[in-house]
């Protein structure tokens, strides 16, 4: 299996805070890699740097052979993001939103139509495809948001807390979709939900106060901490991290 993402000594400092402190990790192609952590752990900042939304203070990341520092334009063409907040054009219909993003990524008319139809089928958006995005429920909007990221055929897909605020049924439905698409694309996921991380992830990195405290499969993390559940493993790692970080 080849390496899709190689993060080396990444650091991000803001005026009053260091959000990420020298983190390194790698993600294998065709897997789901989750960043797990409490609020302010640095998960979203990491995703922002990997997608080019924010520049690192130090360090670099190589995405399928392209450096985010030197070849960001190439990185942008092969990756896409579904942000934490639902990000859709509110007055456009579901179909128009998908077509709009396909056009922005330079797809021709035939390819745009083909991919739009594929996304509508994959995410079961048929019944709402002519509805304006602003009238959709949170669950539908989140599905559309992920479909808008996937329509560009990214090699790397970043899902920033994709099920945040969704009810249990909508969350389960999205998990099924993510399991379906993980065969086509390398996924980096951030989440607060242990059940979600355990069900979807091949490997998990636990972040505490801008540092990665542990990396491994869910089973490896449980074994490392001598716990039976991922939640207990996470709590142990997070508490250990907080002691080390002086919190």
């Amino acid at each position: 299996m080849s390496t899709a993402i190689e993060v080396s000594h990444l650091r991000k400092e803001f005026r009053l805070k260091t959000a990420i402190k020298d983190i390194s990790f790698s993600v294998e192609a065709g897997t789901v890699f989750s960043l797990l952590g409490v609020n302010g752990a640095g998960k979203t900042t990491t995703i922002r740097i990997l997608t080019g939304l924010s520049r690192p203070t130090a360090g670099d990341a190589v995405i399928l052979g392209h450096s985010i520092s030197r070849e960001l334009d190439l990185v942008k063409k092969i990756s896409n993001l579904s942000p934490q907040e639902t990000s859709v054009a509110s007055n456009l219909t579901v179909r128009e939103n998908l077509e709009f993003i396909a056009g922005i990524y330079g797809m021709n008319k035939a390819k745009t139509e083909e991919n739009t139809n594929r996304m509508i089928a994959l995410f079961s958006l048929e019944e709402v495809e002519k509805s304006k995005a602003k009238i959709l429920s949170g669950g539908w909007q989140r599905k559309l948001s992920i479909a808008m990221a996937l329509i560009t055929e990214p090699k790397i897909l970043y899902l920033d807390e994709p099920t945040l605020g969704l009810d249990v049924l909508a969350r389960k439905e999205l998990w099924n979709i993510i399991e379906k698409i993980k065969e086509q694309v390398t996924i980096v996921l951030t989440t607060h939900y242990m059940e979600e991380a355990e069900r979807l992830s091949d490997r998990i990195a636990v972040m505490v106060s801008g540092e990665i405290q542990a990396v491994g499969t869910p089973e490896e993390l449980k074994a490392q901490t001598g716990t039976d559940t991922l939640e207990d493993a996470f709590i142990k790692i997070a508490e250990r991290g907080n002691v080390v970080c002086g919190h």
Partner: protein
């Protein structure tokens, strides 16, 4: 190409908002009818010609453009307040695509608005036995292009700098300034004093004045007004493009 796709989306967002029809297209037309009715009640001996249709139409045309500023401002500040722009920031879109993508649909909206305003003015002119020469109408539309760019520039500037809640408030202040100091509702030239000087320094008077004298066919000092207006338009638009570009780049730091 990306700029065109983005402008198409912005155009759809504007056209699907009912307020666009009310303020951008309906309100100037309503004002034309109201002020024409007011004009009918002004006695001949008052010597007040400001609300006669040939003078009123260019004024209302500039008044309408100030609402295009409001819509440009709302669209930019609304996009900035949602995560929608995040999605576009991670795409291969460049700052120039955003600037063109916001400007083109606003120019198109301004053009449509002017066509409707002058069409209704021609209809009102028929009832008052006033005719508009087609060539002067075309020249007047051309003279309004810098004014359109000026107001779109203001809209992009305020939309880039201010929040979704604050931006419309500032635009309302500018619209009031346009009305009073632009000479739409009062004869600025007869005022004299400091107020007249302020009016002449600002671009709004020149926008209204240039459109009025071009439509009248008396090109007199049209050159001066068009020059001042062009200067303001280029400066404000470049400033707006610079600020929007800086905002995008700041978001990406």
């Amino acid at each position: 190409m990306r700029a065109l796709i983005f402008s198409k989306r912005t155009w759809k967002e504007i056209m699907r908002d009912p307020l666009s029809y009310i303020f951008c297209l309906g309100f100037p037309v309503v004002m034309l009818f109201i002020m024409t009715a007011v004009n009918k009640n002004i006695p001949e001996e008052a010597g007040m010609h400001l609300f006669e249709i040939q003078s009123l139409a260019p004024g209302i045309a500039v008044f309408g453009l100030s609402f295009v500023m409001l819509f440009a401002c709302i669209q930019v500040s609304k996009d900035r307040s949602t995560a929608f722009l995040l999605r576009l920031y991670v795409s291969p879109m460049k700052p120039s695509d955003f600037i063109s993508g916001y400007t083109l649909p606003m120019l198109w909206t301004a053009f449509l608005q002017e066509i409707i305003t002058f069409f209704v003015s021609i209809m009102i002119g028929f009832t008052a036995d006033v005719s508009f020469q087609p060539i002067r109408l075309i020249l007047c539309l051309a003279a309004l292009i810098p004014a359109g760019l000026l107001f779109i520039g203001f809209g992009l500037l305020f939309g880039s700098l201010l929040s979704e809640k604050a931006a419309p408030g500032i635009c309302s202040v500018v619209i009031s300034v346009v009305c009073f100091l632009g000479g739409i509702w009062m004869d600025v030239d007869s005022l004299g004093g400091t107020l007249a000087k302020i009016c002449h320094v600002l671009p709004f008077y020149h926008a209204v004045h240039a459109a009025r004298i071009v439509l009248s066919g008396d090109f007199g000092d049209a050159g001066t007004s068009i020059f001042v207006l062009l200067l303001y338009s280029v400066l404000i638009f470049l400033l707006a493009a610079f600020v929007l570009r800086e905002k995008i780049q700041k978001d990406l730091r």
